[in-house]
Homo-oligomer: 370 residues x 2
C-alpha cells in the first residue's frame, strides 16, 4: 500500500492511499459491512454516496459463512460486489465484546460461537489466516481491547499482551500482499499509550491504529489520548482511530492528525431513525415531521434529501418500511462522506479551523426532543 | 388516459397507455407499493428494473399517513418519488380481507382500523374522495370481492352490490382528471360474470378490471372465467386482472387478452428468499447454494444477477441482512418486467405461442426442494 501526504493544516493531514483495489483519499471514513454488506445499501449506492473504502468484520465472516466460502467465491471484493479498497479488522474487539462468554489466554481467546455455540479459539495466527483468506487490502493485528476504566496495572498487562500478539500477527502475516496495521492500546494511561506505540512501531507496520477508544470514556479522555499519542505516530503512515464516532468526534480527531475512521454509528442510527445533518441530529420519528415537505437537511445533496420529504421518511418509519432504513442509511453515510470531503478540502486550502467552527455552529442549530 | 392497441397475436394484444405522468406499454405488470413504497427498493431501482407503472393501496394510505398528508405533500408521485404512472386500488379488496372485522351494508363497509382500532366507514364516495386526494392517474371503483366458493345467489347479491357501488363510484368521480376503471365480479359463475360485465360497461369506464380472482380457486376456474369474459370486454379499453399472479398465470392471462396486472407475489416472495427465474423457482435458503459462484438465473440481466453469486445471496439470507430482501426484490421484479417485455415483443412479432412454450419449458427445469 502506498500512502502519500498531500497537504497539512496545523496537525491535520490530507493524503491519498493506493491499494490493489484502487485509491482512497484521507481523512477517510469507512462504512462498516459487518457480514459483507453495509446494512441496507447496495455497493452501487455506497459508491454513489461517496464511500471509497469499506470495512468488514473478520469475527462475523469467520463464523458465517466461514472464510473458506469467501475465498472460494473469489475473496471479499468479488463476494460482496464492492470492488474498491477494503479493510478487515482482526476480531479482537468483537471477542472482547463477548464479555463473560470469552476467556483470554496467552495463546488467544476462547469463546462460544454466538451463531451455533461451537467452541472457537481465535489467536493472532488464526486471525491473520482468516484475514488472508478474506483477501482485503488492509488487515489488522489481533489485539486485546482494554476495558474502561482499567487500573494502570491491568491496562499494562493488557497492553503488553497486545504487543506480543502484534508481533505474532506480524510474523503470521509474512509476505502477504495485503497491508498490515498495528494497534496501539494502553487504556487512558498516557505513559502506557506511548510505550505501546513505541513497541508497535518497533515491530513495524504499514499503518498504525488507536484501539480501545470510544469504549465508554468521557470525550475529554479520548481527546487527551489523541493529544498524547498522535503526534508521535509515524508521520508517513496512515493513522487510524478505530470505532469512532460522531461527526464531532471525527472533526476532533482529524484536527489532531488522524487519517482513517470506521464506525457503525451512521448505519445503526439510521435504522433507528436518527439522522446526522448539517444542523445537528434529526429524529425523523418525531411527530413534527409528519407533514413536512422539507428534506431532512436543506444543505444535503444525497439521493434521499434530493428526492424525498421529511414527511415521507416519517411515514415510512412509522409503517416500519425497509425503505426507511435504506434512505436514512444513504443520508447518514453520505453526510459522513461529505464532512470528510469538506475536511480534506479545508486541509488543502489551509482553512480547517474556520470549517470546524462552521460545522459546529451548524450542529447546534437543531435541538430536537427525543 | 389514452390507450392504443399496437399489435395482436391470437387473443393477446400489446398496446401503449398515456397518462398525465407518462406512458406505459401493455401487457404491463405493476409492482405493489402498499404504503407508498415498493418494499425494499427505491424509485430509481424500480425504474432501472423496468417498471413503468406502480400500484398503491388506498386502504393502507388512508389509514397511514392519511390522504390529507399525501395531498399536502404534493400527491402520491411527489410523496413517493415515483414520478411515472400510478394506479390506486379502491380498498374494496382490503376491507373484504378483514373477514369478521368488517360489516358490509348498502352504504359501504364498516370496519375497525387495524392501525388504531378507530371505527371507519368506507363507501364508494369515500374511496373515490381518498383516491382523488392521493392523485394517482388511474382510480378504481369501490367493489365487493365475492368469497370463494360462493353459491350462485350469494355471488349474485355480491355482484349486484358491486354494480350499484360502481355507479356511485362513477358519479362521485365526476370530472376528475384521473381515469376510472370499473370492476367485473360474479365469482366463478359464468352467467353472473357476463351480467356484471354488461352492467359495468353500461355505466362506462376508462378501463375494465376482473376482480375476485386468485382468491383460492383452482387455476382451471380462473382460466374458465377468463375464457368466458375477456373477449366480451371492450376491445379498445385496458383489461386489468387484479391481484394475479405467478409468471405462469400472467402468461395464461396475456394469451387470453389481458393488458394489466398487479400482485405482491414477486415482492413478498423475494422477502422469503423465493426467487422466480427462467428455470423455475429458486429457494436461495437451500444449502445447495452455499458455495455457488453462479448467479440466481444465468439468463437474467438484472443488477442482482449481474453482480452477485447465489452463494452471497444465500449468506445474506442466512444472516438476516436487509440487502438479501432488496437484491431478491430487484431480481423478482426485474424478472416479471422481463417476462412482460418478452410477451409484448412476441405479440408484436406474432410469435407468442412459441415464446409461451419456451418459457414454460424453462420453468420446469428446476425442481428445487423446499
Amino acid at each position: 500500500m502506498r500512502f502519500e501526504i498531500r497537504a497539512r493544516c496545523g496537525r491535520a493531514r490530507s493524503g491519498r492511499a493506493t491499494t490493489a483495489h484502487g485509491e482512497f483519499s484521507t481523512p477517510a471514513f469507512m462504512p462498516v459491512g459487518t457480514y459483507g454488506s453495509v446494512k441496507g445499501v447496495t455497493p452501487v449506492q455506497l459508491r454513489e454516496l461517496g464511500a471509497e473504502i469499506v470495512l468488514c468484520n473478520t469475527f462475523h465472516l469467520m463464523l458465517r459463512p466461514g472464510e473458506a466460502i469467501v475465498r472460494e467465491l473469489g475473496g471479499l471484493q468479488r463476494f460482496t460486489g464492492w470492488h474498491g479498497p477494503m479493510l478487515t479488522d482482526s476480531g479482537g474487539f468483537q471477542v472482547w465484546s463477548l464479555g463473560e462468554l470469552r476467556k483470554v489466554e496467552e495463546v488467544g481467546v476462547h469463546f462460544a460461537s454466538p451463531v451455533n455455540g461451537d467452541r472457537v479459539l481465535l489467536t493472532p495466527e488464526r486471525s491473520i489466516e482468516v484475514q488472508r483468506a478474506l483477501g482485503a487490502d488492509i488487515a489488522m493485528v489481533f489485539d486485546e481491547c482494554t476495558a474502561y476504566p482499567a487500573t494502570e496495572s491491568a491496562a499494562r498487562a493488557s497492553m503488553e499482551l497486545s504487543a506480543r500478539w502484534a508481533r505474532r500477527s506480524r510474523e503470521a502475516h509474512g509476505d502477504s500482499p495485503a497491508a498490515l496495521f498495528g494497534i496501539v492500546q494502553g487504556g487512558m494511561h498516557s505513559a502506557l499509550r506511548r510505550e505501546s506505540l513505541s513497541r508497535i512501531v518497533e515491530i513495524g507496520f504499514d499503518g498504525y491504529a488507536l484501539g480501545g477508544l470510544s469504549v465508554g470514556e468521557p470525550k475529554d479522555e479520548m481527546r487527551a489520548v489523541l493529544d498524547d499519542v498522535v503526534d508521535a505516530m509515524p508521520a508517513d503512515r496512515p493513522r487510524y482511530l478505530m470505532g469512532v464516532g460522531t461527526p464531532d468526534d471525527l472533526v476532533d480527531a482529524v484536527a489532531r492528525g488522524i487519517d482513517l475512521f470506521d464506525c457503525v454509528l451512521p448505519t445503526r442510527n439510521a435504522r433507528n431513525a436518527h439522522l446526522f445533518t448539517s444542523r445537528g441530529v434529526v429524529r425523523i420519528r418525531n411527530a413534527r415531521h409528519r407533514a413536512s415537505a422539507a428534506p431532512i437537511d436543506p444543505e444535503c445533496g444525497c439521493y434521499t434529501c434530493a428526492s424525498f420529504s421529511s414527511g415521507y421518511l416519517h411515514h415510512l418509519d412509522r409503517c416500519g418500511e425497509m425503505l426507511a432504513s435504506t434512505l436514512a442509511t444513504i443520508h447518514n453515510l453520505h453526510y459522513y462522506q461529505h464532512v470528510m470531503a469538506r475536511l480534506r478540502a479545508a486541509i488543502e486550502a489551509g482553512t480547517l479551523p474556520g470549517l470546524i467552527e462552521h460545522l459546529r455552529r451548524g450542529w447546534n442549530t437543531e435541538h430536537e426532543p427525543v
